[in-house]
Amino acid sequence: MHWNPTHFEASFLFALFTSIVFGIVGKRTDRERLHYGLYVFGCFMAAIFGLAWLMYFGHG
């Protein structure tokens, strides 16, 4: 079995799993954990789309 993801699929999964762990280990209450996990996930998404557009315009 082999899976050949697009760059977006791979980076989306990476962002999802990483933000879950960061959310759990980074804060002390469940509410703070949820907010921090969503914040980290949002930052990953912003970086993914931001860098993608930057590369798009960079290539001309």
């Binding site: 082999h2 993801p5 791979a10 990476f14 999802l16 799993f17 990483t18 762990v21 759990i24 280990v25």
Partner: protein, 143 residues
């Protein structure tokens, strides 16, 4: 309460927590992602850690990422391979099961195997964070 100071006037270090307090949850956390949290009865957090770390590891396998092996000829590759090996090894039972079942992927060109290798190492690094969290809970620094 005033902070205790040592003979040199520096703040005294708090005593190191006894090994027996934290070794079991940390070892279980290494063997099974989230295992330390399960041992400490943090069921929801343990389940989420198990999902995240093993999910990343499984997707790394599906992308045919290579496992790093220690040793090489030049310094850069030695550091790279040892670092990657430590990351892979931090997956605990997932790593041992994959290798015992014969998973051995050569270094192949292409984006997917490259992502896969990073997923496998990052799953191990996330598991190290989970182990540190289990330690913090076990010694009473976190709830």
């Amino acid at each position: 309460m005033p902070q205790e100071k040592d003979a040199a006037g520096k703040p005294a270090k708090p005593p190191r927590p006894p090994l027996s307090l934290w070794i079991t949850p940390v070892a279980l956390g290494w063997l099974l992602p989230g295992g330390g949290h399960f041992y400490l009865k943090r069921w929801n957090r343990g389940a989420l850690l198990l999902f995240a770390v093993s999910g990343m590891f499984v997707f790394g396998l599906l992308m045919r990422g290579r496992m790093f092996e220690p040793g090489d000829t030049d310094l850069f590759n030695i550091i790279l391979n040892y670092g990657g090996f430590v990351g892979d090894l931090a997956n605990g039972a997932l790593y041992f099961l994959a290798t015992w079942f014969g998973y051995s992927q050569p270094d192949m060109p292409g984006a997917a195997p490259d992502y896969g290798a990073k997923f496998l190492v990052c799953a191990g690094l996330l598991n190290i964070l989970a182990m540190i969290d289990a330690y913090e809970i076990a010694v009473g620094n976190k709830s």
